[in-house]
């Protein structure tokens, strides 16, 4: 009974099945990894979007956003680190630009001859550590005396 005399295909068959199952497992692992990355990316972009929303809320509440000196070439800019808000893994930066002076919109109830609406464009850009960015723009106006 030496090795040369043994016969049969058990090893080969077993190996073949092993290879097939390994390939199945590998391809399912690949697609799982891909899925995981897609989910992570979607969570990341969501997070960055929410941070940009936070920035916009802060910009909206910041009285210095509403100055006519915030021009296109010299906008008023502020970063989240300067405000002291913990936004987790992402930071935001907002800026305000004065756009235009118009008659007060109808729904505000102000008289057109005496008051005016001063329109600003608020823009908030959030950036995560991984480099994902989200930019939000919002128009805002403040009613003031005409002039």
């Amino acid at each position: 009974m030496n090795a040369a005399k043994q016969s049969g295909a058990a090893l080969i068959t077993a190996l073949m099945f092993l290879v097939i199952l390994t390939m199945l497992a590998l391809s399912s692992m690949t697609s799982t990894t891909l899925e995981e990355r897609m989910a992570a990316n979607s969570a990341e972009s969501n997070r960055v979007f929410q941070v940009a929303e936070t920035g916009l809320s802060v910009a909206f509440a910041d009285p210095r956003s509403y100055s006519m000196r915030n021009t296109e070439t010299n906008p008023y800019t502020r970063e989240s680190s300067a405000i002291g808000i913990n936004t987790g893994a992402a930071t935001f930066e907002y800026q305000s630009v004065f756009r235009q002076q118009t008659e007060p919109p109808r729904q505000t109830g102000y008289e057109a001859g005496k008051a005016a609406a001063f329109h600003f464009n608020l823009r908030s850009e959030a950036t995560s550590a991984a480099g994902t960015t989200s930019t939000l723009n919002q128009g805002a106006f403040q009613i003031g005396p005409k002039g």
Binding site: K5, G8, A10, T13, A14, F17, I20, L21, L24, A25, S27, S28, S31, T32, E35, M38, A39, S42, R99, Q100, T102, E103, P105, A117, H119, N121, L136, N137, Q138, G139, A140, F141
Partner: protein, 402 residues
């Protein structure tokens, strides 16, 4: 010589019979299997094979299930992302943020490349006559609310909701030079950065565009485009001039509501309708998917599409509208209504949306008799072989949030 060859022949004739004798005997170590040995071997290998095949089949099934549920999740996520991006932008018209301050210069029979866009762009609110940022259908087979315009959306699956949004594309550009009067063309900087060619100009023809500043805007269809290099502040700037002439299936008048200066922005005016339709177009609606009609999603090659499939497997869509009921609007939704019961479409501040997404292939191993809750609707399955999942989200309509 002769003797030598004789001897050789002799030697050969001597060995031949011996060889024959040897072949007649079974060689040592090469004996065949007996029948019993063969049967046992076959049985054992069959058992082993059955086990391995079982393992293989169950592995394959698991793989398929995983794949299907991954595709399901992906479809749901993608559908939600698309809807979120569009609904969030609804009503954006530049600085004024008020779609009711837009003047719609499009004719009621406006067409683009043969596609009738009347319902998309002339779905004016019956009461105020202004464009609606958002419209809805509550349960397929009815008209769009609040405009009451026809469906214009292929075959909607009965019982599903639909939503329609209109807005100015976000990447709006400020006008490089002021219009001389309200009939003048609206200028944009040539995207190529050089004097516009005929091909550049034809890109812009028949675009539905919106021009707006902080106190309102106009929507018009570009009838033709001209171009050239103009001097602005002493610098040569290649411009494309978008003209808006009146005509059948085009604009109502040659003039916009007023002339715009360099504080105004211009961009494409987008209108899209999302609904649940049937992917194979047969008499039934048992192959559902999310469809859209309106401005195409491609960044290049502006056009309008009708009844295009976006995502397969989206079986149901239910929508509730968050309405701010306060007299002094605080932009917080106080009540959620279906499209049929919304009291005032201009007071919608958010949209709550639920999608029922199913796997793409039927799996005969399962019987789905679950009940799914989609906001105002409950769906009970009759035991088919699809797995399903519900996706729900609430979207703030940014441009109602003053």
């Amino acid at each position: 010589m002769n003797a030598n060859s004789q001897a050789k022949t002799g030697a050969m004739t001597n060995t031949l019979p011996a060889t024959r004798l040897y072949a007649a005997r079974p060689p040592q170590g090469q004996a065949g299997f007996s029948l019993i040995e063969l049967m046992i071997a076959a049985t054992i290998s069959l058992l082993l094979l059955a086990g391995a095949a079982g393992l293989f089949l169950s592995n394959k099934r698991i793989y398929r299930e995983q794949e299907e549920s991954a595709v399901l999740q992906e479809n749901g996520r993608f559908a939600m992302q698309l809807l979120q991006e569009n609904i969030r932008m609804a009503g954006y018209v530049g600085c004024s943020d008020d779609v009711t301050q837009l003047t719609n210069n499009l004719k009621d029979d406006v067409k683009r490349n043969g596609v009738n866009l009347a319902n998309l762009y002339n779905a004016a609110d019956n009461r105020t006559g202004t464009l609606n940022a958002i419209e809805g259908i509550d349960g397929g087979g009815r008209a769009w609310l609040p405009s009451g315009s026809g469906q214009n959306s292929g075959r909607m699956k009965p019982g599903t909701d639909a939503i329609s949004v209109r807005y100015l594309r976000g990447q709006a550009e400020t006008l490089p030079r002021a219009m001389g009067n309200a009939q003048d063309g609206v200028s944009v900087i040539a995207p190529s950065g050089a004097a516009p060619t005929m091909a550049d100009l034809s890109e812009f023809a028949h675009t539905i565009a919106g021009v707006a500043d902080c106190s309102g805007g106009d929507v018009f269809i570009v009838t033709n485009a001209g171009g050239g290099v103009y001097r602005i502040d002493g610098e040569p700037v290649p411009l494309i001039n978008l003209r808006h002439v009146a005509g059948s299936s085009r604009n109502k008048t040659n003039a916009l509501s007023r002339s715009y200066d360099t504080q105004a922005v211009i961009s494409q005016f987008i209108a899209r309708r999302f609904y649940i339709g049937d992917t194979d177009g047969d008499a039934t609606t048992d192959d559902p998917g999310l469809f859209y009609t309106g401005t195409n999603f491609s960044e290049q090659g502006y056009k309008h599409v009708q009844n295009e499939l976006l995502i397969e497997g989206v079986e149901d869509m239910q929508i509730l509208y968050g309405v701010d009921m306060d007299a002094n609007s605080d932009n917080i939704a106080d009540e959620f209504h279906t499209a049929a019961t919304v009291p005032d479409w201009n007071k919608i501040v958010s949209v709550r949306i639920a999608l029922l997404v199913r796997t793409l292939r039927e799996n005969r191993d399962i019987q789905n008799t679950q009940t799914y809750n989609l906001l105002d609707k409950t769906v009970r399955m009759d035991g088919d072989g699809y797995r399903r999942r519900v996706f729900t989200t609430t979207i703030l309509i940014r441009n109602r949030d003053a």
